[in-house]
């Protein structure tokens, strides 16, 4: 049999990781796809329909319209992060990460494969939550490309962050620490349910440090055409975070952190 070129090995290897990750998402759909849809539906019912009626318009839009992009983005963030952290930590815990480590695939392919797996889940759940949101709010599309770009970049950022979390995690508690104590507060304070213009000056300044605020607003800009942040800067930040986290994840694998003796 002729010797395969390294480029071909890498390409097929990358595809295989992505197919495997997709297979995992579909195999355990009850854990991967359904919970966010249920959560988003509850948010729409309680915050959107019940409380939202009393809130009145936000940034010139019906409150349900205003929160819909944020809720979609929240599910994208949670799922892209959760997919990679649980899949890669599970592979470490079950030792089947060794299947990849002994293979000829370079570490950047392994990181890219897992990250794309996270992006796929983030986008799949985001799509389903978008469909759910249509039952509660009419969603205009102001800039379609911005919607896609914000969704893809945000899911990439959090898929890579989830990968890094999984690399360091030594037990299930450490796997859940960041999502519970960092991600959730940042998301809730990331302008999902309110416009930062409502906040006092000091709180606004603090909010701008939160990257999720920029992501949610870039995404909302795609739907509603309005944003609390500078949209170009938001996309630049997302791009920068994607590249930086990808580099950090590859570096960690190259150093064998959490995976090699």
């Amino acid at each position: 049999m002729p010797e395969l070129s390294l480029a071909m090995v890498r390409w097929i290897g990358f595809q295989t990781i992505v197919i495997r990750e997709y297979g995992r998402i579909v195999r355990i759909w009850g854990q991967t796809l359904v919970p966010s849809v249920v959560t988003a539906t509850l948010y729409f019912i309680i915050f959107g329909s019940l409380i939202g009626r009393r809130v009145g318009p936000m940034a010139g839009f019906d409150y349900r319209q205003f929160i819909a992009p944020g809720l979609i983005m929240m599910s994208i963030i949670t799922n892209s992060y959760g997919n990679v952290v649980s899949s890669f930590f599970g592979a470490k815990f079950g030792k089947h990460v060794e299947e990849l480590l002994v293979s000829p695939l370079p570490n950047w392919i392994i990181v890219a494969g897992y990250a794309i797996g996270g992006v796929i889940r983030g986008l799949l759940v985001g799509l389903v939550v978008t469909l759910v949101s249509l039952f509660f709010a009419r969603l205009p599309v102001a800039h379609f490309a911005a919607i896609i770009a914000a969704a893809v970049l945000t899911s990439s950022v959090f898929a890579l962050a989830g990968f890094i979390n999984a690399v360091f995690a030594r037990n299930f508690d450490q796997m859940n620490f960041i999502p519970v104590f960092v991600l959730t507060p940042l998301t809730y304070f990331g302008g999902v349910f309110y416009s930062v213009s409502m906040l006092p000056e000091w709180a606004q300044r603090l909010s701008y440090v939160n990257p999720i605020l920029h992501m949610v607003n870039a995404f909302r800009f795609g739907f509603l055409g309005t944003s609390d942040v500078h949209v170009v800067s938001a996309f630049a930040l997302m791009l920068l975070l994607t590249v930086g986290l990808f580099g950090a994840a590859v570096l960690l694998l190259n150093r064998g952190v959490g995976i090699r003796d």
Binding site: M1, L4, L6, M8, V9, R10, W11, I12, G13, Q15, T16, I17, I19, R20, G23, R27, A91, G94, K95, H96, E98, E99, L100, L101, V102, S103, P104, L105, P106, G256, R260, D261
Partner: protein
């Protein structure tokens, strides 16, 4: 051509344990090679370094001429590894596991499915191809790891205690399979605690202890070094006491069993003749201890660990 070559390979773990101390080891292409040693001797660390699961502290290693520092991807493409511990996703099916593994080595899915059928059939796992791997028996799980390691048709197959906990019937089936793979050109490095297995399968051997190679020889040459062998003789009629024969020391184990030590310059014909003259008829005999086991114990026990 050397399938594996290591020079001054060293590993010191963070806890200060010197797992490997300057190991030089060559394994020829096509060999069926035994790497033996007691628990904690450094076998798995050596395999871990070659397969990049363990980071070496010093020295070099190459696989079919590909240096693991400079051409790691090429080196790893040549290796198939069957680890000591189960390391596949227990929730996946054997078919998924082997097809994905082929993909990690650049084998397209259509070709991977053809190979999967071949190896899963050969290792008697085809009927279980769509069952969750966690439901397989211990022997099946071991065979699944062999099938997985063969999917990219490696030039060097490394088996780290592949038959641990497997019943004798399956073990012998696996031996035949491995002999066949080796006969078709795959170099095999085997670590095992079943020394009978190593003696039966391997042509060359290295014994590692306390992180260093303490013996490296052809299996046949090593076995010839035994000066004395102990045999167990089963007699047809009961024997009251061990007969006193000049040049032979016999011991009575029970009324139907004798033990005798035979030196290199003695022969069994003479022993049987003399026993026959005393009216003792031997109906069967066996080595008291596996020959390799005897040499192995002597080599390992005679060595005191370095500080």
């Amino acid at each position: 051509m050397l399938a594996l070559s290591t020079r001054a390979l060293t590993k010191t773990y963070k806890n200060g344990v010197h797992a490997l101390r300057s190991v030089d080891l060559d394994v020829e292409q096509g060999d069926f090679f035994a790497l033996l040693g007691p628990n904690g001797a450094g076998k798995t660390t050596l395999i871990g370094i070659v397969t990049s699961l363990v980071t070496k502290s010093g020295g070099s290693a190459s696989v079919f001429g590909f240096d693991i520092d400079r051409q790691l991807e090429r080196a790893k493409s040549c290796i198939g590894v069957v680890p000591q511990e189960l390391n596949f996703n227990q929730f996946e099916t054997p078919m998924t596991i082997v097809v994905n593994q082929a993909g990690f080595y650049g084998i397209a899915r259509a070709e991977a499915r053809v190979r999967a059928e071949r190896y899963l059939r050969q290792l008697q796992l085809w009927d279980k191809r769509n069952s969750a791997a966690r439901g397989l028996s211990g022997g099946m799980k071991r065979r699944l790891m062999i099938a997985r390691a063969l999917m990219h048709e490696p030039r060097l197959l490394i088996l780290d205690e592949p038959t641990a906990g497997v019943d004798i019937e399956i073990r012998r089936t696996m031996w035949e399979f491995l002999r066949d793979i080796n006969a078709r050109g795959t170099t095999i490095i085997l670590t095992t605690h079943y020394l009978e297995e190593a003696e039966s399968l391997c042509r060359n051997i290295a014994i590692i202890d306390h992180g260093g190679i303490i013996e490296r020889d052809r299996m046949s040459s090593l076995l010839r070094r035994l000066n004395t062998q102990s045999f167990v003789l089963n007699t047809r009629s009961p024997v009251a006491e061990a007969p006193a024969l000049a040049d032979f020391t016999l011991r009575l184990v029970d009324e139907h069993t004798l033990e005798v030590d035979i030196a290199k310059d003695q022969n069994l014909n003479e022993l049987f003749e003399r026993l026959s003259r005393t009216g003792i008829e031997v109906v069967s005999m066996r080595n008291k201890v596996n020959r390799l086991e005897e040499i192995f114990m002597r080599l390992v026990e005679n060595r005191t660990p370095d500080a």
